[in-house]
């Protein structure tokens, strides 16, 4: 066992339970060994205890946490035998750690340089100048522009992705034997996530550092790690090489997790006849018709007399949604996809363009009843008023429908809650904080649908949820859509989810549409380079030729722009954009040459 960098035997960690006053174990009898240079991933959903293992190794459990049993050995030292000073010698120098939130893991009041060299000076005993030199070299290796200048700057002047690179550099600077990375890229966009992970892999390989990656994202772990440990409720359910876990999972929970992965068992069955009772008259126009929509936000002015800076969140976007159709709006954070959804519902002011819903102009004197359009939000923790019961929350969706009697209203609420499998008898008088995330999202869906809208905007409705719950909610949405026939604008950053639920895909980049296509055409042959990068960044869980699951990057053949054009990039003037149709219903933003 001496060649193990880290060996954990029978580790049990407990926290006090506020409600009962007893202690509750969050990690139960966990065994784990990391060999020199090995890459192991711990996968689990929230509450699985995976984060606590990483913290316990460094003796940095949050307040109230306690190791109740088991041993943690680093090299040939038992961590329990070490005094505080000896433990500190291992922290940083022996074991490095990277946390989830790059925005809060660097001290905002100190310069990058100081934070990077303080560990070096402590552990390697270097003087300031040598330490700074090493820091610059390392920042160079993580490909940070202007590494020397960066030393003088404060964390707030770097983006999330840059900060995580700085963190990576700062931790690997000490050349630890083991790197523990706790959800290091979860807060980042897919493209940046891939860059940071690729960089991390490259560096740990070069330095021979062992890596313990803690993540909720099974495909990601499978893509980058050699071995996987699956945890649930504090216990290890299964551990083994990646290929074995993927192809021959022995544990039932692992199989559930694999099945819950979007795309793992095909798409939801979808009736091509659209919604029930929804007959499309010939020549009927689209349900939602957005033309040349622009939304600009004014920033705060620097001086009272200066012009406020304008942020063009949505720039000349046109799109349509047919009755009963699910259109996915994809893009990274800051692409304007959320703003576009809000603008269609008149929640943010529009600066140019028109929105017609069912032929009615959605201008100031809008004729469309509000309850014809609804919205489901991303965060089930802030989308329900914490002081209202579930029944009241749903009933509010019917408040403005004066045609309903009190009894009808109650029946509608009960029926709706029944439809989202949250029976009113059981849940109606509860408050949101008494529900789990998935249950809250069911309530949010019920609130949006109780007025029987013809169109909803679903803004990242599953991205805050655990994988298995995500699957349930997506299935519920698909079922309800079948039954009620509403159309939806499904806003998401998650390509796998989009592939599962959408009929059509619209890609947004810096507030502009760069590609729009039927789902199948889009995933088979995305044209715009940005769409391809987006898809490429997300590892795909697929079935290999032998019918076994494999994780792989999506790869596509080279795509040539239409003759006489180049693909439009954000740097181009918006006025130069032309949408070239490359196939039926498939258009891509280009610029004529």
């Amino acid at each position: 066992m001496t060649h193990d960098v880290l060996a954990i035997d029978d580790l049990t960690i407990s926290f006090p339970d506020e409600t009962t006053g007893n202690r509750r174990s969050v990690v139960k009898s966990v065994d784990l060994a990391v060999k020199r240079g090995e890459r192991i991933g711990i996968v689990g959903e929230s509450g699985s205890g995976k984060t606590m293992i990483g913290r316990a190794v460094l003796g940095l459990l949050p307040a109230g946490g306690r190791i109740d049993g088991g041993r943690i050995r680093f090299g040939n030292q038992d961590m329990a035998d070490l005094g505080p000073a000896q433990l500190r010698r291992i922290r940083g120098a022996g074991i490095g750690m990277i946390f989830q939130e790059p925005m809060v893991s660097l001290n905002p009041a100190l310069t990058i340089g100081l934070q990077m060299i303080e560990g070096l000076r402590l552990h390697a005993g270097l003087n300031r100048r040598d330490a700074e030199q090493r820091a610059v070299e390392m920042l160079h290796r993580v490909r940070l522009p202007d590494p020397r200048g960066a030393l003088e700057r404060y964390p707030h002047s770097f983006s999330g992705g840059m900060r995580q690179r700085i963190m990576l550099a700062s931790v690997l600077l000490l050349e630890p034997d083991l790197l523990i990375a706790d959800e290091p890229t979860t807060a980042l966009d897919a493209l940046i996530q891939k860059e940071v992970l690729d960089l991390m892999l490259e560096l740990v390989r070069d330095l021979g550092t062992a890596l313990l990656l803690i993540s909720h994202d099974l495909p990601l772990v499978a893509r980058y790690m050699e071995r996987v440990i699956v945890m649930r409720h504090g216990a290890i359910r299964e551990a083994g090489p990646v290929a074995q876990i993927l192809t021959a999972p022995s544990d039932r929970y692992t199989r559930t997790l694999l099945d819950a992965l979007p795309g793992s068992n095909g798409q939801f069955e979808k009736d091509t006849n659209r919604g029930v009772g929804e007959t499309l008259p010939d020549g009927a126009g689209p349900l939602v018709d957005v033309r040349n929509l622009a939304v600009a936000f004014e920033g705060s002015r620097t001086w009272p007399w200066s012009r406020p800076p304008r942020l063009q969140a949505v720039d000349d976007v046109s799109l349509t949604v047919q009755p009963g159709e699910i259109v996915a709006l994809v893009g990274e954070s800051g692409s304007g996809k959320t703003t576009l959804g809000r603008a269609i519902l008149d929640l943010v002011p529009v600066s140019a363009g028109s929105i017609r819903v069912d032929g009615e102009s959605a201008g100031r004197a809008r004729q469309i009843p509000r309850h014809a359009m609804q919205i489901v939000f991303q965060d089930p923790y802030s989308s329900l008023d914490p002081r209202m019961t579930i029944d009241t929350i749903i009933a509010e969706g019917l408040r403005l429908d004066r045609s309903l009697s009190r009894a009808e209203r109650r029946d509608r609420v009960h029926a709706m809650l029944e439809a989202v499998q949250m029976p009113s008898a059981q849940f109606g008088s509860r408050f949101p904080h008494e529900l789990s995330g998935g249950q809250r999202q069911r309530v949010a869906i019920a609130r949006a649908l109780v007025s029987r809208p013809r169109f909803i905007v679903a803004d990242e409705p599953v991205s805050a949820l655990d994988l298995t719950v995500q699957k349930e909610i997506l299935a519920l949405l698909a079922d309800l859509q079948q039954a009620m026939g509403f159309a939806a604008l499904f806003i998401s950053h998650d390509m796998a989810v989009v592939e599962e639920i959408a009929d059509r895909v619209v890609v947004l980049l810096h507030g502009r549409v760069v590609e729009a296509a039927e789902k199948a055409a889009f995933f088979a042959a995305p044209r715009h380079p940005y769409s391809r990068r987006l898809l490429h960044a997300v590892p795909e869980l697929a079935f290999g030729t032998d019918g076994q699951r494999v994780v792989r990057d999506r790869r596509y053949a080279e795509s040539e722009p239409p003759p006489g054009h180049v693909f439009a990039e954000p740097a181009h003037q918006r006025a130069d954009y032309v949408y070239v149709s490359v196939a039926e219903g498939h258009s891509v933003a280009c610029v004529a040459q």
């Binding site: 409600t19 959903e45 929230s46 509450g47 699985s48 995976k50 984060t51 989830q100 959800e183 979860t186 807060a187 909720h216 994202d217 954070s333 809000r342 519902l345 929640l347 009843p369 509000r370 309850h371 359009m373 609804q374 919205i375 939000f377 991303q378 965060d379 802030s382 989308s383 329900l384 008023d385 914490p386 002081r387 509010e396 969706g397 408040r399 403005l400 509860r430 008494e434 529900l435 789990s436 995330g437 998935g438 249950q439 949010a444 609130r447 949006a448 007025s451 990242e460 991205s463 805050a464 949820l465 655990d466 994988l467 298995t468 719950v469 995500q470 950053h493």
Partner: protein, 298 residues
Amino acid sequence: MSGGDRALPDSGRTEPRKRPWPWFLRRVNGIVGSVLLFVVFGAAFAGLVWTPYDPVAPDFRARFMPPDAAHWMGTDEWGRDVFSRILQGARTSVFVALSSVSLAVIAGTLIGGLSGFFGSWLDRIVMMLTDALLAFPGLLLALAIMAIAGPSEEGVILALALSYMPSVIRLVRGAVLSIREKEYVEASRAMGNSALFTLFRHVLPNCTAPLIVMATALFGSALLAESALSFLGLGVPPPAPTWGNMLSEARGYFVQAPWLAAFPGLCISLALLGINIFGDALRDRLDPRMRGFEGGHH
């Protein structure tokens, strides 16, 4: 964006929590604070309905009697029973503090709520005004208003209400600004609810936690400020007893009758201790992020 450990476990409590005791009786600080507050309010109630002696009628045969069985806290230079005056003073102090804080909270909530929710020019005017009013530190504004109103109970109530209003406006406005961005408020607008309905139905009710915490702190401040004003001779005028003017009168007989200064001061301290301890417990429970907010005084 994430499904990490930040989210709660998806197991969902199926039974609502059972609470055998009200929360403030389950912790030591809650118990101590509640008991002290109960004593203060009890004394105030007693001062309202019954006192052992007439708190204002002089009795020249019984001047400067040290505390004994008949006069638990002794008598003053007019021979009045200090204990009765303490009870009567409790009534005045509690009444003044409650009224001024209620006025400040009601007006401040309305103004701060509208200002924060609707923003634009209204907000700018309200902010400039509160900025200017907050430029008068501590008791200064109250002192200036007392100079206009002259010493009286109503004057003190008005002065303190006006002094505290800017802080309440600021607090409510801040809370409204953050709640306004919550998705349930957007959901309410998406349902077609009017802005005012949304403000009163979803936004203001969710400001109550910090507001209660602040009101408790302000109640302590008001109690102290009323005593201080009366001590300076600018608050509730004699012969009506308040803890502050009793202390002020006691200064002249310091060597002769130290109990005259000891008991009113002790009462103020115990009342404030009760409020502060209770307030801390309340804050820990209602609004952990408010830790560190201090009501300003002196």
